[in-house]
C-alpha cells in the first residue's frame, strides 16, 4: 500500500516538474516576444509618419523632413545582388564538394573546421580584411563591389553549412538509383542530389542574405558613404551589349548605414527618419525570411521520402 502511495507521489512530483518547466519556457518566450513587439512598436511610433512614398523616392538631405532613403535602399539592393552572386555559387559549390567529393582526410577536416570557425568570426574582422584586401590592395575602393564581396564572404559559411545539411538529408538510395541507371557522379549530383537538396539550400541562402542585409560594421569599415545624392549607373544601357557593370564600381550607401548615421545626429527629427529606415530594413528581412519559409514548404511538399 505504501509502495502505491509513494509511486503516486513520484508521479505527481514528476508532473509538477514538467509543469514548472513549461511555465518557465512560456515565460521566456513571452518576454522575448514582448521585447520584439516593444521594439517594433517603438520604431513604428517614432517613424510611421515618415513612411510616405516620398521618403522612398528622395535622396538624403540636411533637412530631416526632406531626407529620403532612395540611395540607401537602391544601394542595399545592388550590394545584395553582388553578395548573392558571390556567396550562392561559391557556397553551393563548396557544399557539394565537401559532401559529395571530398575524401575524409586531414585536409578536408581542416577545411571543415575553418568553415565552422569562419561562421563565428566577428563581422568587423571581415570589414578590416575587406578594407585591406579589396578596397586598398585590389583597388576596388569603397564601391558596391567591395561591399558585396565582403558580405558575400561573411555569409559564405552560412550558405556552405546549409547546403551541406540539405545534401545530407538526401537519402543514399536516390544516389544509388541514379548510379544504377548509368549516371556519373556529376550527373547524379546535378540531376538528382542538388534538386532534392534545393529547399534547404535556398533557405540557407535567404537566411544568409537576410543576415547580410543588416550588417553595418563591415561596410562602415570599408568606407561606405552616408550622404550620397546619386544612384549607381543603370545595369542596362541603350548601346550594345546593353548590359553595363559600371554600377559595381559606384560608391554607395545602404539602409543600415543611413539608419546609423541618422540615429547619431542630435536633431530629433532625424530620429524619426532613422526609425522609418529601420522599419524598412526590418520589413525587408521579415519578407526574406517569409519567402524562405514559403519556399521550404512549397518544395518539401513534393518530396516525402521515408
Amino acid at each position: 500500500m505504501t509502495d502505491q502511495s509513494q509511486l503516486a507521489l513520484r508521479i505527481r512530483r514528476a508532473k509538477q516538474l514538467e509543469r514548472g518547466f513549461l511555465l518557465l519556457a512560456w515565460l521566456l518566450l513571452t518576454s522575448l516576444a514582448a521585447v520584439f513587439v516593444g521594439l517594433f512598436a517603438g520604431l513604428f511610433q517614432a517613424g510611421w509618419e515618415r513612411l510616405q512614398l516620398d521618403f522612398f523616392l528622395t535622396f538624403a538631405s540636411r533637412h530631416a523632413a526632406r531626407a529620403g532613403i532612395l540611395a540607401a535602399w537602391v544601394g542595399t539592393f545592388v550590394v545584395m545582388t553582388v553578395t548573392a552572386a558571390v556567396a550562392v555559387p561559391l557556397g553551393i559549390a563548396a557544399g557539394i564538394y565537401l559532401e559529395e567529393y571530398a575524401r575524409p582526410n586531414r585536409l578536408t577536416t581542416l577545411i571543415e573546421i575553418n568553415i565552422v570557425n569562419l561562421a563565428g568570426v566577428p563581422s568587423i574582422v571581415y570589414g578590416l580584411l575587406a578594407l585591406g584586401l579589396f578596397a586598398r590592395l585590389l583597388g576596388f575602393g569603397a564601391s558596391v563591389l567591395t561591399a558585396g564581396l565582403t558580405l558575400g564572404l561573411l555569409i559564405l559559411p552560412i550558405v556552405i553549412v546549409a547546403t551541406r545539411e540539405a545534401i545530407r538529408t538526401v537519402p543514399n538510395a536516390i544516389r544509388e538509383a541514379s548510379y544504377a541507371v548509368g549516371a556519373t557522379r556529376w550527373q547524379t549530383v546535378w540531376g538528382q542530389v542538388l534538386p532534392a537538396a534545393l529547399p534547404g539550400t535556398l533557405t540557407g541562402v535567404i537566411l544568409g542574405l537576410s543576415r547580410a542585409i543588416g550588417e553595418t560594421a563591415p561596410i562602415v569599415t570599408i568606407g561606405a558613404v552616408t550622404f550620397i545624392a546619386f544612384l549607381p549607373p543603370a545595369p542596362l544601357s541603350a548601346d550594345f551589349p546593353f548590359l553595363s557593370f559600371d554600377w559595381v564600381w559606384s560608391p554607395f550607401t545602404a539602409l543600415p548605414i543611413v539608419t546609423f548615421d541618422w540615429t547619431s545626429r542630435p536633431n530629433a527629427d532625424f530620429r524619426a527618419n532613422a526609425a522609418a529606415a529601420a522599419l524598412t530594413l526590418t520589413a525587408l528581412t521579415a519578407v526574406m525570411n517569409g519567402v524562405a519559409a514559403w519556399l521550404r514548404y512549397r518544395l518539401r511538399r513534393r518530396q516525402q521520402w521515408q
Binding site: 541507371v181 548509368g182 521520402w305
Partner: protein, 272 residues
C-alpha cells in the same frame, strides 16, 4: 583478367544446365570490406533470358554478390574485388580495372529493396536514364517512357498522371516504376535486390508476375529472402552461406533434392 579463358558452363553440380547460354558468370569471385571477406571464391553462372535466384540467411553475402555485378561497391571506400565477373557475349571482365563501371551500369539495370524513385515526376523518373544515354528527341523519349511503363504493367494506372510526383504512387506502383526505369534503358541483365520485401502480398504478386513476363526481354538475377518466391519465379537457384556459394542448380533440383546438407537444413527451416 585473362581474356582467353573459354566460358565454362558454370557449376558442375547439375549436368542438366549444359544447353543454356550464359549471360554472365562470376568466377572465383571474392569481395572484401576492408580486411573482412564478404564473398569467398564464388562461382555463379547466370543464364540468358532466365531468372536466377540467390537465397540464403541474412548476412550470407547474397546482396553483396548482386552488387558486384554493377559495381555498386565502387561508390563506397575500402572495398576490394578479386576474381572476375564475365559478361557475355563479349566475354569482358566487369571487374577489370579497364572496365568502366559506368559503361557496365549502362548495360546492367538494378531494382532495389525499397522502392527508390527520384523525387521527380513519374515521367522524369524514366526519362532520366534515357537522357543519360544521349536521347534528346522528345517524341522518342515519350514513346520509350510509355513502352517501359507498359512493360512494367504500370501504364494504365499512371497514364493520366505522368506529371505527378512519383511519391504520390503506392509502394507497389513505386516499385514497378523503378522496374520501368530500369527497363527503359533496355538492360541486358537486371539485378533485383529483394524487390518485394517492402511490399504487401498483392503488390508482391504483381511484381513476381512481371518478372516472369520479362524473361523474354532480359536476364534476371534476384536476391530474395522469400523461398517461395525463388520457387515461383526462378529457373535457377543458388544457395549462399557465410559468403560462400554452397549450391547451384535448377530451382526444382535445389529445392527437392539438394546435394548439400546445409542447403537441406536451410530449406527445412533448421536455421536462417
Amino acid at each position: 583478367m585473362t581474356e582467353s579463358v573459354v566460358p565454362s558452363n558454370g557449376q558442375s553440380a547439375n549436368g542438366a544446365v549444359n544447353h543454356q547460354t550464359l549471360k554472365a558468370e562470376a568466377r572465383g569471385l571474392s569481395f572484401f570490406y576492408g580486411e573482412k571477406a564478404a564473398l569467398r571464391e564464388v562461382n555463379l553462372p547466370v543464364y540468358a533470358y532466365r531468372a536466377t535466384a540467390l537465397i540464403g540467411p541474412s548476412g550470407c553475402g547474397k546482396s553483396t554478390l548482386l552488387r558486384c555485378f554493377n559495381r555498386m561497391h565502387d561508390l563506397y571506400p575500402n572495398h576490394r574485388y578479386a576474381g572476375e565477373i564475365r559478361l557475355y557475349p563479349e566475354n569482358i571482365n566487369l571487374l577489370a580495372p579497364e572496365t568502366d563501371p559506368i559503361a557496365a551500369r549502362m548495360r546492367i539495370g538494378m531494382v532495389f529493396q525499397k522502392p527508390n524513385p527520384f523525387p521527380k515526376s513519374v515521367f522524369e523518373n524514366i526519362a532520366y536514364g534515357l537522357r543519360l544515354r544521349g536521347l534528346r528527341d522528345k517524341n522518342e523519349i515519350r514513346e520509350r517512357v510509355e513502352r517501359a511503363l507498359q512493360d512494367a504493367a504500370l501504364w494504365d494506372e499512371v497514364k493520366d498522371r505522368l506529371g505527378d510526383s512519383a511519391y504520390a504512387l503506392s509502394g507497389g506502383q513505386q516499385q514497378r516504376l523503378c522496374i520501368a526505369r530500369a527497363l527503359a534503358t533496355e538492360p541486358e541483365l537486371l539485378l533485383f535486390d529483394e524487390p518485394t520485401s517492402a511490399l504487401d502480398p498483392l503488390a508482391t504478386a504483381s511484381i513476381e508476375a512481371l518478372i516472369g513476363r520479362l524473361k523474354s526481354q532480359v536476364t534476371s538475377l534476384i536476391v530474395t529472402h522469400n523461398l517461395q518466391q525463388a520457387g515461383r519465379v526462378a529457373e535457377f537457384t543458388a544457395f549462399m552461406y557465410l559468403g560462400e556459394l554452397v549450391e547451384f542448380g535448377p530451382t526444382e533440383v535445389v529445392f527437392n533434392a539438394p546435394s548439400q546438407k546445409r542447403t537441406e537444413d536451410y530449406l527445412a527451416g533448421r536455421f536462417g
